[in-house]
């Protein structure tokens, strides 16, 4: 597509429920990222997928968080047994991520985010 698409745009859930957030990256972008943005805060890195390589999960805050990327395209971020502190905007981004290429090609394009509210 023309941009990074995320769904749902808003999700309200009860504490303890599981949620799934979806990201459709820009066609042809091999790299996909998930970030979390809490109110008034910067962007916190969660996970990074690059092609068929093992994802970098170093930013996931707990084992309740997981993500997968099927077929090198669409990604789903799953949060199990949600807690109130999970409330945030979850942003997905994609990039061409061409190794060795200078600035420009590795610029991340972000989606509008999925706002998660855990009651």
């Amino acid at each position: 597509g023309a941009g990074v698409s995320q769904s749902p745009s808003n999700k309200v859930t009860e504490k303890g429920k599981d949620v799934e957030l979806r990201c459709d990256p820009i066609s042809g972008h091999t790299a996909l990222y998930w970030y979390r943005q809490s109110l008034g805060q910067g962007l916190e890195f969660l996970i990074y997928f690059q092609g068929n390589s093992a994802p970098d999960k170093s930013g996931l805050p707990s084992d309740r968080f997981s993500a997968e990327r099927t077929g090198g395209s669409v990604s789903t971020l799953t949060i199990q047994r949600t807690q109130q502190e999970d409330s945030a905007v979850y942003l997905c981004a994609s990039s061409l991520n061409l190794a060795g290429v200078t600035s420009g090609a590795n610029v991340l394009t972000f989606g509008a985010g999925s706002r998660l509210t855990v009651l």
Binding site: V4, A31, Y33, Y35, G40, Q41, G42, L43, F45, Y48, Q50, D56, L91, A93, S95, N97, A99, T102, S103, G104, N106, V107, L108, T109, F110, G111, A112, G113
Partner: protein
């Protein structure tokens, strides 16, 4: 650990003024820096980037300055317009074959007509 931070959380300017948003970084290995603009309810949008082998880069109404000696980055917006009102983030990248960006907390720019 290494981090990227901002000096001013909120900057208020009048329309037509020039704006300067500052950012300090601490990772001396960072070699690529980006400024993003985030409007309310939207994801961050790329504004301008700069590599560490440069100290200045200009775009349309925006200029990024990099001072590696003091690890300082700034974004200058000329003739600020109400549409420039947003949160501005600086981000750094230590490429090393990797493209994970580290973001600062952001500065809110408020432009009054």
């Amino acid at each position: 650990g290494e981090s990227v931070g901002l000096h001013l959380p909120t900057l208020s300017v009048q329309e037509g003024d020039n704006s300067i948003i500052n950012c300090a970084y601490s990772n001396s290995a960072s070699d690529y820096f980006i400024w993003y603009k985030q409007e309310s309810g939207k994801g961050p949008q790329f504004i301008i980037d700069i590599r560490s082998n440069m100290d200045k880069r200009q775009g349309q109404r925006v200029t990024v300055l990099l001072n590696k000696t003091v690890k300082h980055l700034s974004l200058q917006i000329a003739a600020t317009q109400p549409g420039d009102s947003a949160v501005y983030f600086c981000a750094e990248n230590n490429s090393s074959g990797y493209s994970t960006l580290t973001f600062g907390k952001g500065t809110m720019l408020l432009v009054s007509p």
